[in-house]
Structures are given as C-alpha cells and as structure tokens.
Symmetry: C2
Subunit: 213 residues, 2 copies
C-alpha cells in the first residue's frame, strides 16, 4: 500500500509517519519508484503500536526506539524478548537497600516467590523491574503498618497468576512473533487500565452486595 | 499525646501537621492549655492517610479536603460513603458519546454487567468513575482493533470480583467505620501498585513456564 493508505489504516498522519521513518521507529517500505514506497501489514501494526506508546502511554520517542530495538532482537529468548520491551518502559529505580521497610518487603516477597514456586520470577530478580516495583509497593504498605506479609500476598498472587494465564492464552491467538512482542507492550499500556477499572467496579459491586448501596 | 509524639508516630513533621490543622485536613486536638492540645489514635491514622494521599498519590490538597469531607459524612450509606472518597480521587471525564468506539465499548460493558449479574454496578453507572474509566479503557482497545468483547472481558471480570472479595474481607478486619473509609482510599493508592506488580511478575513466570526464559 502507499503512504496515504498506510496513514488511513493506522490512524497516524502522513507527516507523523514520515517523522517516524526519519527517526528509525518505522522500518522503510519497499522502494517502488524514485519517490514512492510500498508498505505492508507489518507497517500498519507497528504504527498502531507506536501510536499507542506515544499517545496513550506518553512514552518519549527515545524510549519507544529502545523498546522496539529489544522487540526486534532475534538473538533473545522469547520471555526475555517479550519482557525486554516492557522492561524498557518501566525504568524503576533500585529500592534503597538501607531502608528497613524495603528489607522487610524484600524478605516477604522472596518468601512469597519461594512458597508459590515461582522459580522463573526468582531467577529474573536481578533483571526484572516488576520485582523491583513489587518490593517498592510492599515497602510502602510496611511503612504504613498494613499487615501485608507473604501469606496475605499469596491470595492476590494466585489470582494474578490466573489473570496472567488468560493474558498468555490471548497472546497465543496473535499470529507472528513480532506481533506478539507488540501485543505484550500494548497490553501493559492498554489492558492494565481495563483491569484496574474492572477491579474498582467489582469492589463497588461486592460492597453493595455486602452492605447495600 | 502531644504534637511531638503525634509527629513521631505518624511520620509527618510538626510543621506539616500545623499546616494540615490550619487547612482543616486534620480535626483540632483537645485543648489542654493555652498553647497545647491532646491528640489521639484517630489523628495518627488520619495523618498517615493524608501523607499517603499527598506523598504517594500526589493528590492536591484541595482534593484531599474533598475526599475527607465525603469520608466523614455520616448521612451517606456505606458503599456510597466508602466509594465517595475514591470517586473524588478519580475525576474521569465523561467519554465522548459521539465517538463510535465509545458506543461499542459501552454496549459491551453493559452486556458484561448484565451477563454477570452486577446489578449494583449497573445502578451506579451514572455516578461511578470506575464505570467511565472502564468504558474509556475498552474504547481504546476497540479503536486499536483488539477483539475484547463482553465474553472476553467476563473472564477478567470474574477474577477481579474474587480480588475485590479479598479486599473486602481485609476491610472487615479494620475496626471502625472511619478507619474503613481511610483504608479504602489508601487501598486505591497503595494496594493497586502491588496488584499491578504481581500481575507483571505473574506474566513473566507464566511466560517462562510456557516458553522458557
């Protein structure tokens, strides 16, 4: 397809597409003349992802480039490759190891991962921003004296494992490897708000069920 | 207790406590002299909540005041009173009813609520920012052509209902009505990041389980 059709299909203006081509976010089309190129479905998908990252995720262009670079790196294994895009998005600072609440949180999270047999998550600890985020979030609860230890966390961890299993079932319906990597990144930005809103709506439903409106 | 002890117990500086007293975020203590007042456990708890809202939630002082006003309003029923604090936090704009993706999203969400028998959530629709957030989040998926209809949403809705049920079980361990209202607001700011991090960690675990690292 030509640039005009690519623009219409992806919902991205021709000017923005040219900008993304210059910035290297979008691979060039196949040259079919001195001034025209031919684009394919991969370009449409990639543009939708870029649009989601920039417009919905408010992700800076330099980060988008890094995310895409990881996603396109065939030398990485699937979990790392799918994760790498996500990880580039979530630049979590290392929690302060001197902080007592952080130490307590790390102990409880490590106990949780061991008790639940999450062995891959344990192996990925030094790499994973999700692990660091969890430590930081639990440390805040510890500081405010919420009694959220490994046992309390376990109930939520098991439910989130079921959610993750659904996520991956959905991912398996996505045909190509590069479309999968794109879906993972889109998922973090687009599915998480759905989950959060469903969670709050479920709280309202459950509260009304128990206590009346 | 005196101001110095209140400061130490709550982790909020004396200067900030005085500021919150002047701003009406914190009710005055019991006067015990011309310049000293006596504070109780309710003040400690309220200060921890204010600290969570302002420091963790980055909530503006005016919004904090509104949240607290709803929480303290005895004339409201429990679900509304617990929800009102949360709702003041989440000022969602009304999704554009002219937008076709919004119309599709609303149809699927309404179908979901009916199919799952979430009757309170249906009744609360005109009030609830959670409902509006869900419409907006699903509309984004519709626009990007993700096939997330009511059936697909239902799997997630059921799991989130189980999460919400756990949340409310935890809430029932909190003694007083005002402490409950505080916990609900704290929960939105503090537990949701835990849930999100557990979700991402579970995705990594599940991906590694299926595909290797």
């Amino acid at each position: 397809m030509r640039l005009a059709e690519l623009s219409e299909r992806s919902g991205v203006s021709a000017a923005s597409i040219k900008h993304y081509l210059r910035e290297g976010l979008l691979p060039p089309g196949r040259r079919v003349g001195t001034t025209t190129s031919d684009y394919d479905e991969g370009h449409v998908r990639r543009l939708r992802l870029i649009r989601a990252l920039i417009q919905v995720g408010k992700v800076p262009v330099a980060t988008v480039r890094e995310v895409l670079r990881h996603m396109d790196d065939d030398s990485l294994g699937r979990t790392i490759r799918l994760g790498a895009g996500l990880w580039a998005l979530a630049q979590e600072p290392e929690p302060d190891p001197e902080d007592e609440a952080v130490a307590v949180a790390r102990r409880e999270v490590d106990k949780l991962l061991e008790a639940e047999g999450w062995s891959a998550a344990r192996q990925l600890r030094p790499l994973s921003p999700s692990y660091r985020s969890l430590i930081a979030a639990v440390a805040t609860l510890v500081r405010l004296e919420f009694p959220w230890d490994a046992d309390h966390l376990a109930h939520y961890a098991r439910l989130m494992r079921q959610v993750a299993s659904r996520d991956l079932d959905f991912l398996e319906t996505v045909p190509s490897e590069s479309a999968k990597a794109e879906t993972v990144v889109a998922a973090a930005l687009l599915f998480e708000p759905v989950l959060k809103a469903l969670h709050r709506l479920a709280q309202e439903e459950e509260s009304a069920r128990r206590y009346g409106l």
